[in-house]
Symmetry: C2
Subunit: 623 residues, 2 copies
């Protein structure tokens, strides 16, 4: 279809197209001032040198805060005109609800500050970028996609901007099109790519500045500066709606166990959030499995025990959630997948792989049902992970549980009714959803933010909005250098020296010490036995509940930016209270108190462990 052509609007879509996203105060008003903060470092001091070497020109840049003219009013009170900009924008990675609003926010901000600015959309994702297939975004085009789901304004491909050739094509495109800025809409991989582009462009003295925005419904782009990802809120709400419907169904008919697999790649954020919203009987997170090193047998056993306990209370129904990444978190399956991927890479045909696996891997492989064998043999994705959406772990587990329950029935250890299961995979049916109010507002603010970063000539940044769990009127906006979110993975694979990965923004899994997971743990037993299902219903766009946010966002104590500000104000206060001329006592007290602070920090910060903000553990291997 023609990109940007729009489609037939339903009543709701028409309504949504009239919705005006709320803008945080710091992005309102006639002039948005860009305040530079302190120079940034990386979460793990051990990585700092390496990352600096890879990104000499974009490492260590300062944090950026936007300050509204509402705080510092501009003299004339009218909209501040900026020089016109030419900016390109590209969708990367899986479509996430709210993606269109990034473009709408960017477009509105550009036109507001100079109607002569031009926004070019790259058609068909990164492929469009490489071949310079563009669309000039106009008022009409933006109007057709305001607050709408999907990525169909421009389309997308899954391709990344990683190879030398791809990076050069992108550089060439930006130079040929004479762009002042390029906005990359995507998740961890795309923002890592954006960082690489920024560095390469700077090195090539290309005038195009590169800015990323955190858009991925997987919710795995999380760090000091990024509290949430565009799309996550909507995806979790749609999935929770469906899971809850299934819970209600289970409770009505009382005869099936539903095994539901959810999208989210290696991280289990979607599954965790959906569990908190809908209270299914059981959840198995990839991060739990990896951290406890649970085998396929352990997991099967755990589910069988649940079935057993519930049968003893006369219950023969239940709902069990699994993340699609679970399969890679099970140590022996992961190892099997690695062997398969190496063989595939070496050109071994799928028919002859089984014979070339190590004895134990071959034994595991041969024990699997045929449908899973076929799925395990699929070529890995471009990021080397398995084709998670294609591997029906829910069916595998349901089958293993059924077999085990049959054995127990024969043994006489299980005397309940026959175990019946129904399997579901929820993914594609949520991705294209009309975005929630939260995702609309968040994405729109990020789009505005991306403009202000580019207008300030900043390169290699991600647009940030923080304090998200509070009202929009209290959101803080700014930007952080992409390099400041990077870590390096060191993996001991087999024998030999550790494999050191490239500096990257890595997907962050569920924090097993975090509050969201704690909330789940705390209720797990009740949810398992008591069927305390809760049905959040379909996303509402008006009235009570329409401004709800994810539970994960609301229970976690983010506000890194707020604390940075607070720290700065304390330091300033000490400085102003203890100026030359103050009494000896005050000075002594200040020195003594500060010595204590410095001592604590030095105790916390040595060799990359235990420093205040270290990246969430990702023990589940996924390079």
């Amino acid at each position: 279809m023609e990109f940007g052509a729009g489609i037939e609007f339903s009543t709701l879509q028409k309504q949504r197209s009239l919705y005006v996203p709320q803008l945080p105060p710091c992005l309102q008003g006639s002039h948005v001032q860009v305040e530079l903060g302190d120079a940034t470092t990386v979460p793990d001091p051990l990585d700092a040198e390496s990352i600096k070497r890879s990104f000499p020109l974009t490492y260590g840049q300062p944090l950026v805060h936007f300050v509204s003219s509402l705080e510092k009013p501009s003299p004339n009170g009218v909209q501040d005109q900026q020089p016109p900009l030419r900016v390109g924008v590209v969708f990367c990675g899986r479509q996430s609800p709210g993606g269109h609003n990034i473009i709408c926010g960017l477009y509105d901000a550009m036109k507001l500050h100079n109607p002569k600015s031009t926004l070019l959309g790259f058609c068909g994702g990164t492929e469009g970028l490489f071949v310079q297939k563009t669309l000039v975004i106009s008022d009409d085009i933006v109007a057709a996609y305001r607050n709408q789901g999907g990525y169909d304004m421009l389309g997308r491909t899954k391709d990344q901007i990683t190879s030398k050739e791809q990076v050069n094509s992108a550089l060439n495109a930006c130079q040929t099109l004479d762009l002042n800025g390029l906005v990359v809409i995507g998740g961890v991989t795309s923002n890592t790519d954006a960082a690489q582009l920024a560095e390469t462009f700077a090195e090539a003295k290309c005038l195009t500045k590169v800015v990323g925005v955190p858009v991925t419904f997987y919710g795995d782009l999380q760090n000091q500066f990024v509290e949430a990802n565009v799309g996550f809120d909507t995806i979790c709400k749609v999935n929770s709606q469906l899971i809850s419907n299934i819970c209600t169904d289970a409770l009505s008919a009382e005869k099936y166990y539903y095994f539901i697999r959810l999208m989210g790649r290696s991280a289990s954020h979607v599954t965790l959030e959906c569990s908190l919203q809908s209270h299914p009987n059981m959840v198995i997170l990839g991060e739990e499995v990896a951290s406890s090193k649970l085998t396929l047998h352990d997991i099967t056993k755990r589910i069988c025990n649940a079935v057993q306990s519930r049968a003893e209370k006369g219950k023969y129904h239940g709902v069990i959630l699994l993340p699609e990444g679970l399969v890679e978190s099970i140590p022996e399956v992961y190892a099997l997948l690695q062997e398969i991927h190496v063989l595939l890479k070496n050109g071994v045909s799928t028919e002859s792989i089984s014979g070339q696996l190590s004895p134990w891997a071959s034994a595991l492989f041969e024990s699997m049902p045929p449908f899973i064998k076929k799925q395990l043999l699929l070529s890995p994705e471009s990021d080397q992970s398995a084709q998670l959406s294609q591997i029906e772990t829910e069916k595998l587990l349901a089958q293993l549980v059924e077999t085990e329950m049959e054995i127990q029935t024969k043994n006489g250890t299980y005397t309940g009714k026959k175990f019946n299961s129904i399997c579901h995979f929820f993914g594609y049916q949520a991705r294209g959803s009309v975005p929630s109010n939260f995702d609309c507002d968040y994405a729109y603010a990020l789009g505005h933010g991306a403009y202000h970063l580019l207008a300030a000539g900043l390169n290699g940044y991600i647009a940030t909005v923080t304090n998200l769990k509070n009202d929009v009127s209290r959101w803080r906006c700014g930007g952080a250098p992409l390099t400041a979110m990077m870590t390096i993975r060191r993996l001991l694979r087999g024998l030999g020296t550790p494999l050191i990965g490239k500096p990257s923004i890595h997907p962050v899994g569920v924090d097993l010490k975090g509050k969201s997971y704690g909330l789940l743990l705390q209720n797990a037993e009740k949810y398992l036995m008591d069927d305390l299902y809760s049905n959040p219903g379909p996303i509402q766009y008006k009235g009570p509940g329409s401004d709800s946010k994810t539970i994960c966002l609301c229970v976690e104590d983010h506000d890194y930016m707020g604390r940075l500000k607070k720290l700065q104000s304390y330091l300033d206060k000490v400085k102003t209270s203890v100026r030359p001329g103050c009494s000896q006592e005050v000075l002594k007290a200040a020195v003594s108190a500060m010595a204590y602070v410095v001592e604590i920090l030095s105790l916390m910060s040595p060799a990359g462990t235990g420093h205040a903000y270290h990246p969430l553990e990702d023990t589940y291997a996924n390079m």
Copy 2:
């Protein structure tokens, strides 16, 4: 779980529990008068004698209309007190959103007219009825389920009330519990069962009156008196939301054909309505296939042609909807299923069935992929139809199309990109949904109606609400004898005399001459090629769109009851205008005009074909 215990409410559920369904004017006010209309007949005169023989005591009863005290005010103006009633209610068949509101409406009406009335719910569906497992419905219980989805207030089983033994258990339960009335909540089968119970009870001089309500999200309980079924609106909206999300997804990534199978049993109403709401590229209705006698090969070819035409326009994505009943509508597959079911019934093991099939059936069976073979061998449902929800027709078709496209690629007749498909089955994730406003209101009115039928001592009726496409203030309420909806199927199976079925309320398929299907046909080419996807979004409960109804309901010209009333008023007018003493001219004119009317009717009504309201064709064989 404890029935009637309620669950943890989400924000939306709390809100919904406060929703007050609108009540049509005829059910408001201090007194609802029950007006008896003319004696009823059946749609096909050929069936009349047979049905009368089977239902001597409940055949030919009059239609019932409720007239509000708003029209005929009661003298004292206060709520009319009726004698207290003891009523039982039972959920039968698949859970449909809105089912709980039948009970809420029934309960409220009972208590309104006498607080001493008692409503007993049967726990666990018909099984609870047989063993007299009851729950006294209270204010608290009703409060926990107002406007909520599922059947979990009482639970349900799929069992029917068909065998002599089951009917006797039901009779025994109603007598033991001293019930004045029994309300059966269900679809075609359950309402047929209700008719049988009513007749049996009357014969046994049991005082319990039986009333049915049309609740089935399949939407296949349609006839002169029933315009829509509770649950259909919600199910179609939830499915359309998901289908639309998938359309948006297809349009964003442009690389997959999505094959989506929808629930609905043998009829394709859900699929048709969802197509009208979301405009997917292609739909294959079971009724079309049966009426055109399309083979599996024909259907595959049709899809391949679509893929080919779209590829010529550079499009490699699409969304194709299939009803779950499709598989039984394909003549050769239906015949194969029949052979399998006969062998299963004769105790042949699944392993040896293939060898005992007729040569052509065996050839077809062996040509199928293994997963479908396994599914085709499943035992039929209690109504002798195949286990439609378990047969993955979408995967079969996707695979057949893929194979065909590969052949065409090799032949050089297809030169486009590789055909990729993703398959989905949408069913369970919609059934438990929080019901739409329409389903809440409709079910609540039916619940009230059921009470008034019982209070009037009527037996063997279905509660009706008509003129549904108009505002609630114009809805007409009443009841119709269940026998008046019955037909008898005559099937020529193989050689010999036709097999005559029992009088039943049969599922009605999509009317290929109807306006809804016409609307689809009219747009089919555009939808196929132009991607005119429309996303109705999630069900809204407040604001614009929250009172929307299904397109099928809105475009069809129902209002049978309205026309009956109009006919009556014309007849009355003729009578009053032409009274003894009127002029010869007037009398002559009246006689001549009426002769003409009678002539037309006699031309239309002879041998069961071509009379005004004959049952919608169900050429697709399903006994």
